[in-house]
Every structure is written in C-alpha cells, then in structure tokens.
C-alpha cells in the first residue's frame, strides 16, 4: 500500500496536467470552431430528445389509425402520418431514444472490449499480440455490413442483436487505436520506472497506461457514434434490426420507401432525423479529434 502511494506521486503529474490542458483546449475549440459548436448543439438536442422526447410526443407512437394513413402535415399531425396512420412526429421523438441508446451501447461494446484487448496486446506484446493482431486483421478484411449481417444471421433479427453486431464489427478499430497508443506509452520512462520499483502490471496499466490511451479512444468513439447510428439504421432498414412496431429510424425509413412516389414524407422524416444525428456526431467528433490530436496543437 505504501508503495502504491509513492507511485501515485509519479503517476498523477502527467495525467492531471494532460486532462486539464485537454479540457481547456476542448472549450477553446468549441467556442472558436463554429462547425464544432453546431455539432455540439445537435448532439445536445438529440440527447434532450432522447431524454424528454417521449413526454412531448403528442400520440402513442404505435397507435394506428388506418383511416388517416399517409396523411401529410396538418395541425393534428405536425409531420404527417405513416402508412398505418401513426403520428410521424411521435415516432421520430420516441425513436430518438432507440437510436441514441442503440448507438451508445454499440459503441460501448466496441470500446470496452476493443480497447481492453488492444491495451493488453500493446502492453504485454508477445504471442498474444501476434495472434490477436491476425484475428483483428481478419475482422478488418470483411466489409462491416457483411460481418454485421453474418452476426445477425446467426443470432436472429432484433434490435439487440443488431446493436451487438454493430459493436462487434466496430471492435477492430478500437483494438487498433488502443494498441497503437499503448505501444507509445509502454516505451515511456515513467512506465519503466513504475515497473522497476515493483509496481504490478495491473496497477501500472490502471494508473499510468490507461489514462494516456483513453484520449484517442474517446475521439474514435465519438466519430464511431455517427457510424453506429448509420449502421444500426442500416441493419433495421434491411429488416435485420428493430422489428415492428418499434419506431427505430432505419426501420421507419425502410417501410416508408414503398410510398416514395405518392407519400414521400413517410420516408423523408426519419431520413432527415438520421442525417441530423450523424451530422452532429461527425462534427463533434472532428472537433474533438482536432482538440486532442497532439499533431494539431
């Protein structure tokens, strides 16, 4: 325990300074970079929708009114209705929660599993690293959609499985990022020093390596959110994700496209929602990368 205390003296110095510098830079970027600000606002809006949206939904998003099917925008239905007379505004509002939750979980799976694997590979090296690298290369060789379809094909179509599939397919990217960052940190003198004075691997990883690897992983994850929104919606579009009557945006887009010629709003409304969410994550992700990338400083 005594030893641990001493180690912390070494450990905290670069970590705290780095974190403070990052926070400051992030704020500067967000206030100076207009695109980043737009992204942040979009994401904040999406978050707000996901949290409070369902309370503002004027109708039950699954309630059908066949008489009022494919109605265009009106006072009763601000964004019109879909092919079953369901209120599109309510569906988009409630769908925000599904979309956001699905993306967060998918990215969570990718980062948690991918980053820890990458970290272990970079830190320990050796046979584990060589074998895992081959495996990751193999995963990378598949187009992500194909891999996701295989995963869903094995597990069966549902939103949960689609999220799992998107998480698994994004895994290699996080492995790569975490491994590369770990390799750099592993060579640093403070890591060698910590090990030399008898610090355990677990401790060294937790207190010295992980904080320095987290930055690039967080950036990748933010950009990855846009990808997850897109991929989850894509799987639902193909009928491999959310099953009816879940108001998932991709599934809504998919069923709406049959009416593109006579009721284009049914597909357009969820389509715009997907575009807005992806735009927000991309803009914010770009700004974060600029803020955290040492080469940009």
């Amino acid at each position: 325990m005594q030893r641990t205390g001493r180690l912390d003296v070494f450990a905290d110095e670069p970590r705290r300074a780095g974190a403070a510098r990052r926070r400051g830079l992030l704020w500067v970027i967000l206030t100076r970079d207009r695109a980043a600000a737009v992204g942040a606002v979009l994401i904040a809006g999406l978050l707000a929708l996901a949290v409070v949206g369902p309370w503002f939904a004027p109708y039950d998003p699954t309630r059908q009114d066949l008489q009022a099917r494919r109605a265009t925008a009106s006072r009763e239905h601000l964004l019109g209705t879909d092919e079953f007379g369901r209120d599109l505004l309510s569906r988009v509002l409630v769908g925000a929660r599904y979309t956001l939750a699905a993306s967060v979980v998918a990215v969570g799976i990718g980062t948690a599993a991918g980053a820890s694997l990458g970290l272990a590979m970079g830190y320990f090296g050796g046979r584990l690293d060589r074998m895992a690298t081959r495996f990751v290369d193999m995963l990378l060789a598949f187009p992500y959609l194909l891999l996701a379809i295989v995963v869903v094909g094995v597990l069966g179509p549902s939103l949960q499985n689609a999220v799992l599939a998107v998480g698994i397919t994004s895994l290699p990217i996080y492995v790569r990022v975490a491994r590369a960052a770990t390799l750099v940190v592993r060579q640093q003198e403070f890591v060698a020093a910590a090990l030399a004075i008898g610090g355990s691997h677990g401790h060294t990883i937790r207190r010295l390596v992980l904080p320095n690897v987290l930055g690039p992983v967080v950036v990748t994850a933010t950009v990855g959110m846009a990808h997850a929104v897109h991929a989850t919606a894509g799987l639902s579009f193909l009928g491999l994700g959310a099953q009816p009557p879940v108001p998932e945006w991709g599934a809504m887009l998919s069923s709406g496209r049959n009416y593109l010629l006579d009721a284009p709003h049914v597909a357009t409304v969820p389509g715009i929602a997907i575009v807005v969410a992806m735009l927000g994550f991309n803009l914010l992700g770009d700004a974060l990368r600029d803020a955290l990338d040492p080469r940009m400083r």
């Binding site: 309630r63 059908q64 079953f84 009928g239 009816p244 496209r257």
Partner: protein
Amino acid sequence: MRRWIVGLVAAAVMAALALGVPPAAMSQRPGGTLRMGTGVEPLSLDPHHYRAGGIDLVVISLVTDGLVWIDRSLKLVPRLAESWEWVDTKTLRFKLRKGVVFSDGTPWNAEAARLNFERMMKAAEVQGFFGQLAGADVVDDATILLRLKNPYAPILRNLAAPVGGMLSPKAIREQDRTMARRPVGTGPFVVEEWLPRERLVLARNPRHWGTPPKLDRIQFRPFPEESTRLLAFHAGELDVIQNPVPSTVKALERDQRYQVLRVTQTRNLWMGFKMQDPLVGRNLKLRQAVAHAINRTALVRLVAEGLAIEARSFFPTIVIPLPPSAYPYDTSAAKRLLAEAGFAQGVRLQLRAPQARYLKDREIAEAIQEQLKVVGIQTDLKIMEWGAFSQDLLKHEGQQLWIQGWGFLTGDPDAPRGLLYSGGPFNSFGLRNPRVDSLFDRGTTTLDEDQRKTIYAELDRVLVREEAVVVPIYFQVGFFAITRKVRDLYLHPLELIDVSTTWLSQ
C-alpha cells in the same frame, strides 16, 4: 372536280391507314425477350419436388406439360394426352399425343409417362396431389392405364396442375439431382440460364409439339422490394411486373404507357394457430378471442387498398361456393373470451409474417399486431424474408401465430390437404384432427359435386369456427402491370400466365 376526287381518295386512304388496316409493321412480329420483374425467385423448378407456389409454378408450367391442362376458364383440356376416360371408379385410361419429344430429344410415350407416375408417387412434396396413385400400366406406346387406391375425384385436376408436369426419362436417369434447377420437359420454353438472385432466362423450345410461342425468351428478375421493382419498370428495364405496389395501381392505370391486368385468383391469406403450442393449441377460447379481434374489413379495404376480396371462409368462394364461417369483428367478445380463457391481464404471443410474398403481407401483420393489442394481446412480430420464413414454417417451437397463404393450384377444394391433414407435408399448423381428416377423405372419394359442396362447407366450419385453427383474411386478386409494348399476355386464375400468343410491338 378532278382535284376534289383526288382529295377524297387521298383522304379515304389516310382514313383507312389511321383506322387500322394493319400495315406490315404492325403485324404480330415474332421474337424478342419479355422481361418480367417478380417478387421472389423460384426455390425449385422440379414439378414433383416443388417447394412453393407462385413464380415456381409459373416457370414449371412454361417448361413442362402435364397430361391435361386447365384453361383460363378453369376447364380441363387435353395437353400431353389427347383423350382420357374413366374405365371404372379407380382406373383412368389416357390416349397419349403422338410425335412429341422432350427438349433433350427423348421421345414422349407411355413408358415415359409411367416413369413420371412412379416419380410422383415417391416424391413427398406432391403426396397431396398424387398420394392416391397406386400404379400405372403401359398398354401400348400411346396408351397408359392409371390405377388409383380409392375413387379420387380431384385426380384429373391434380394431373393438370404444374406439379403434374412430365419430365424427360433421360433427364430423370442422368440428372435427377439437378432437376430443381434445370427441368427437362416438353413445354414451349426451356431453362437457358439461371443466375441466383439475378435472373432466370427461358428460351423458346425448338422441339415443342404445339404452336410455337412468338417470344424468343422470357427473363425473370427477382425484386423483393416493391418500390425497386416499380422503379425498374418505370425506367424501362422491365416489360411486365408482378404485383405492383397497391397504392400505385391507380396511378399505373391512369398512365397511358401502361396497362394493369387483373384476375381473381384461387389463393387465400390467413393467420394460423400452431396447434402443437401449449398456449394457443390447447386453448380454444384464446383462439376465438384472436379471431374476434381481427377487423378484416379494415385490413382489406385500408391496408390492402381494396385490391383483394374479403375472406369470410377459408376456402376461396371462386373454388367452391360456401356460406360465411369466419368470426365477426367484435372487440368486446374478444375481451370477454380472453378473460374466460384466463388472460384477463393480457397475454403475449409470437407472430411471424413473410415479406413480399403475398399482397401487403408485412403491412397486414403490422396492422394485426395493433388490432390484437387493442383487446389486450401483445405480439412479438418477426418479419422474415420468404426463403427463411418458409423453412421455418414446419417448426413449432416458440411459435404461435403466423401469416400464410394457400394456393388452390388446381382449382379443387382438396388442394389444402397437405396443409391440414394429420402428418401432411405442409402441415404448418401441426394439426391432428380426425374429423378434419375424415372430411378430407370423404371430399375426395365422393364424385357427386353437390355432395362435395356440403362436405367442404362442413370442413370449412370446423376449421374456421368450431376449432378456430385459422382466421381467414382475404382472397387474392392477381394483377400485373405491362407496358403498351406487350400484347396478348393473359393472367390465369391459377396464378399462372398465358404467354402462348404474347408478342412485343415496337
């Protein structure tokens, strides 16, 4: 005066031309490829090992011929047999057409017919049609006797269906395993090329015995997405599309470039109950509650856009006229029965439906999900692509409700025997009901048409009302959209197309 006469003659000539004394260029030109967009692609082209109705049978009927044929007015006409007669109630004698050869050059004769009968008797998939065959005896090269186990009323219609298609004996001996992809028959077309999920091309059979078709080729391309199929049609990539999106049928009819063909078909759509399932299979009141909760008028008029006929019985009324047997839409009765079944707090059921197989299948399932929810029945709906869906049909674990259709391919009410008879090859219900079995048996051994109607009316009442194993939804109306270029293409009520006189204008 003379100029006046010249003018009159010129005007008369012009008028004659305009009024359609057919100039040479307008005659029924042979040749060309008819490009058709379908919903799904065939699963098997082997008539005796068929796996699905629909496009499979369209192609089989163009490649192979049966002994007899059912024409567009549902009458039996000769095809590979020139004539037939009942020798006694269990024996049929066929006089075969002479000078016919299969597309591989093998001659058609009584021995070829006998070999095909044997193949039909062995194939599990067609037992619903040919399970009553006891054997066949060759009398001479052009005469064959067909023996039945019992008097069996539907046999001639069954032989006329695409599943009664005759295959080349040489092909049966040498390439039986690949028959599902390359059937060899005597029909007007042969399979020229089949790239899965891409296109299936039929070419005119130069050895066909009948009037040769005018078309050189027919190309079938699968478009599981209705809107993609329609866009390809608008883009001029297709001459014919099967089942255009119902909401666009009116627009297609208004468009001068297209024509919409319709025909009342012998296919129904229904929701079935898995009778092996402990929850719905042993709970009549739950099944009745579900049946009462279905508003089929709304499903047909609003979801199917009025492009189907509301079904109040399981058997299509075009096949056999029946009194209505379906439970009426009554949500209070549904709630009461649900409570009596012990589910006053509600119940959760599994519902499966195919996509792009039947008119508005996915949408009907989604609307049913909502209709059931209103009375307190939650459903987990799983929408599946047809290939995967049909493979899962005969599984019973964890499934309770599903949506399916049944084609009465021969126009005979015995058609759903394989679907409902105990142990039938298509018994997706898992139904084992002695009363249903005995009614099916009586229906086929009775040759009197009026008695048959009474029997099938009773069968319908047992299935729909007393046992409530099936909830009828609609009878299908088939429609195709064609471009003005396509002439003399006809739809057949048995979900087939008649291209024997089809030609393509400029």
